[in-house]
Symmetry: C2
Subunit: 164 residues, 2 copies
């Protein structure tokens, strides 16, 4: 049951593989700001995609806050498709661009569609930008969304570090 070797189509994203942990903060016009502890993982099974899981806990109480899961599918080396599902009844389907310089690798994602269940809050569009600084070995992200009647507005930012 060993994991097959890395698929060549995801070789350029292999720096994502493993588990990352750190802290983040959230804000939105309709809610009280909050801090959180986060852990995310990227895995592979020898196929041309990365499996993604994420969970956060409240920075003070330690109670579970958010979780999500999804998959990143590279399209060549400079584009990706990313689909993620959240327990709040929200599924997001993104297209993204991968840009690499000496200083950073940046994945800029924008939703092509957001599907919400009948009981979920309204979310119409989401942007995520993930930035990896290979020197500092830090994976940062920012997330903005247009939701519950608000225009596209900053919501989350976090800095994560390799745990393995």
């Amino acid at each position: 049951m060993a994991t097959p070797p890395l698929h060549p189509d995801i070789a350029h994203l292999s720096w994502l593989l493993g588990t990352w942990a750190g802290t983040g903060s959230g804000e939105y016009p309709t809610i009280k700001s909050f801090d959180y502890n986060e852990e995310i993982s990227f895995g592979h099974v020898g196929k041309p995609f990365l499996a993604y899981t994420q969970k956060t806990r409240h920075a003070e109480t330690g109670l579970p806050l958010h979780a999500e899961a999804g998959y990143i599918r590279p399209v060549g080396t400079d584009r990706v498709e990313f689909q993620v599902v959240q327990p709040s009844g929200i599924s997001e389907s993104y297209e993204g661009i991968v840009q690499s310089t000496e200083e950073a690798i940046v994945i800029s994602l924008e939703t092509v569609s957001v599907t919400t269940t009948a009981t979920a809050k309204d979310v119409s569009a989401v942007r995520r930008v993930m930035t990896f600084d290979p020197g500092a070995q830090v994976l940062s992200y920012k997330m903005a969304m247009a939701a519950v009647g608000e225009e596209m507005t900053h919501h989350l930012s976090a800095n994560l570090f390799p745990t393995t």
Copy 2:
């Protein structure tokens, strides 16, 4: 970091919690039939949803076949919302009905929407029926889909047993 107690809104689905494993078979007009080994898990974090993960391996080679992840959100005790994402670029959003008799608990799910990425195969609708036989302690499911130009057609069936 202990798990909080079960949320009362998912108490009637607590029989799903844990890990299930077994075997299944797949067929579709456009592919060669195949057998697989499967493991699925349902977990909770004290909130009113169940987290779902699934993976299958080829019955003969042991190589990874399929995987998916998602969340079940109960709506009262007789309805559910279920969203699932697949590495093949397919996200499914279901509504379902929960029916309980002395013989079985049946969850009948039908997609409200299917979102496919630009590089994914065409899937327009999916039906899943999960049946739990409390006497035999077996969780069975059947899955049918309308995809790649085919009408709604049987695709998968499996029988899974508690591993824990």
